[in-house]
């Protein structure tokens, strides 16, 4: 089995398709930047114990609010914790939340969207009215309300965020399904005796998926931002967990004298979000058939 996969992968790496993809990525510096930022973020998250040697949670009252120095490159916070360690470890929290939230909302939203779009009628009507209800509120406000109702904590943050973001995937995939289901190849698939389930997942899903993938990548940035916002407001991840939003919030009191406490986690949020957004835009161009010609 492994060999089969490896062989298929090798085949793909040698294929023209892959060369074009590579070419398109190389041609666009912004995509390269987005990709670099995203990959570094993932590497930081994975290698956190090796990069940040100091415990992100252990307090040391004798080292409170030290400015950046070779020993503490980003300084220390009000409890004497190393901010560099906390920012690096924070990437794990943010990335985990974002990945889980996007995975949940991507899968449920896409499945519901293509089912509604394909079958139409009452199922479609019902689902679309539900999404209307969700979309009547700004995403962050709704997430705040749900998070406040559920209570703080990582798990509840994930639930609250997934709960408000599946609707965007549902809308998007429904819209493209409406177009695709009228295509001749769907009728041709029906003519060979394919069941609705087979048509939905083997024929419609692969065609409708690319805008949804773009949305998911852009949403990763959005999710990191929302998680930070919830943490900042005290509705999300709780201290002492090194979460960027929480850290920015904690540093507010010292922002004039000890600027580094809020600034570095702030930059981390900025770069992570920017990275995913640039990457999402890049993927949009790459998946776009027109730019492949």
């Amino acid at each position: 089995m492994h060999e089969v996969i490896t062989l298929a992968l090798m085949d793909y790496l040698k294929s023209e398709d892959f060369r074009i993809t590579l070419y398109l990525v190389r041609k666009s510096p912004l995509t390269m930047l987005g990709m670099t930022l995203t990959i570094s973020l993932i590497l930081f998250a994975i290698l956190a114990p090796y990069i940040a040697k100091q415990d992100p949670i252990e307090q040391d009252p004798s080292k409170r609010l030290l400015p950046p120095s070779p020993e503490h490159p980003f300084g220390t916070d009000q409890l004497g914790r190393d901010i560099f360690s906390r920012v690096i470890w924070g990437s794990r929290i943010s990335l985990t939340i974002a990945v889980i939230v996007v995975a949940i909302s991507f899968s449920t939203g896409t499945v519901l969207g293509i089912v509604a779009g394909y079958f139409g009628g009452k199922v479609d009507e019902l689902l679309m009215r539900i999404t209307d209800m969700f979309m009547a509120f700004p995403r962050l406000i709704l997430a705040m309300a749900v998070a406040a109702a559920l209570g703080p904590g990582i798990f509840n943050t994930v639930i609250a965020m997934a709960f408000v973001s599946w609707v965007y995937y549902a809308r998007l995939s429904r819209a493209s399904t409406l177009q695709v289901r009228e295509e001749m190849f769907v009728e041709a698939a029906r003519a060979i005796g394919a069941s609705n389930l087979r048509i939905l997942f083997k024929h419609i899903l692969p065609v409708t998926i690319s805008p949804v993938i773009v949305q998911a990548t852009l949403d990763m940035g959005g999710a990191i931002l929302t998680a930070a916002a919830l943490g900042f407001l005290g509705l999300g991840v709780q201290p002492p967990t090194p979460e960027w939003g929480v850290m920015v919030s904690e540093g507010r009191r010292f922002i004039t004298e000890q600027w580094w406490v809020s600034t570095f986690p702030g930059f981390a949020i900025l770069l992570a979000t920017l990275g995913f957004n640039l990457l999402g835009d890049g993927i949009n161009d790459i998946l776009n058939v027109r730019s492949r010609r």
Partner: protein
Amino acid sequence: MLLEIRDLKVIFHTIRGMVRAVNGVDLMLNQGEIIGLVGETGSGKTVTGLSILRLLDQNAEIIDGKIIFDGRDLLKLPMNEMLKIRGKEISMIFQEPKAALNPVIPVGDQVAESFMVHERITKSEAKKRVIEMFNRVELPDPERIYKSYPHELSGGMAQRVVISMALALRPKLLIADEPTSALDVTIQAQIMDLFKELVRQFKTSVIYITHDMALAAEISDKIAVMYAGRIVEVAKTEEIFEEPLHPYTRGLLRSIPDVKRRMKTLFSMPGEIPSMLNPPPGCLFHPRCPDKMEICERKVPILKKVDEHEVACFLYG
């Protein structure tokens, strides 16, 4: 008798009202027989074809009739039974080969799907049989074509793929809806030859839907001429060409250009096919008919046996 369509009536519900697309079609087909279903755009030939597989759009409704295939009434069959018939016993070839193939799936996998849907078979076995099918439809380098995407194929190659998909499971009946009209003429001839040969080898019965009399003549044993949702004349191909009985059939044959005869202008039939939103009373062809009689405006003629033909016209008793 492989297929027997009795008094098929199909309507479409549209914003402007009810369109009577098929208005009582009777058609019979023997095992191994090839019938050409000829008619103008909008005469209901495609709708008849789609009705057999029950592939009509949601706004269409079959209001009356029977489609008996191999002893079963297809219109009364539960959907899961119908799925087993589609592709395995009856299959269809569509007009635009490229549109009939999914743009994001390698074409080989799409042909393999026919096997996977109907048989318990592993993917590698299915692939072997697809390659075999590709050889039969004379696709060069089948291994490479297997992995190709539709946009990498020419129109003729794509149609060969579609034909291999339709014939993969050796269906008893094939509905071919203008399979060559999207191709250019030289390719058209090649595809027709291949198609003729394969259906003869596989002993597949074919309903060949086309608007081109000459093309229909080339392949069919029998020709059924459709006009405004009805069949107006059925006969053996030679009979139709030798002695067309229905005035519409005559008109159709006169409008085929003939290189042997010098003509200043090509004959064209006056008028156009009536709107099926509110069709004229009596025989639907009477507004254009050169031999119109008084009875034609009142009564609808039914198919009657006249010599070797079946024809729906009051000129013949």
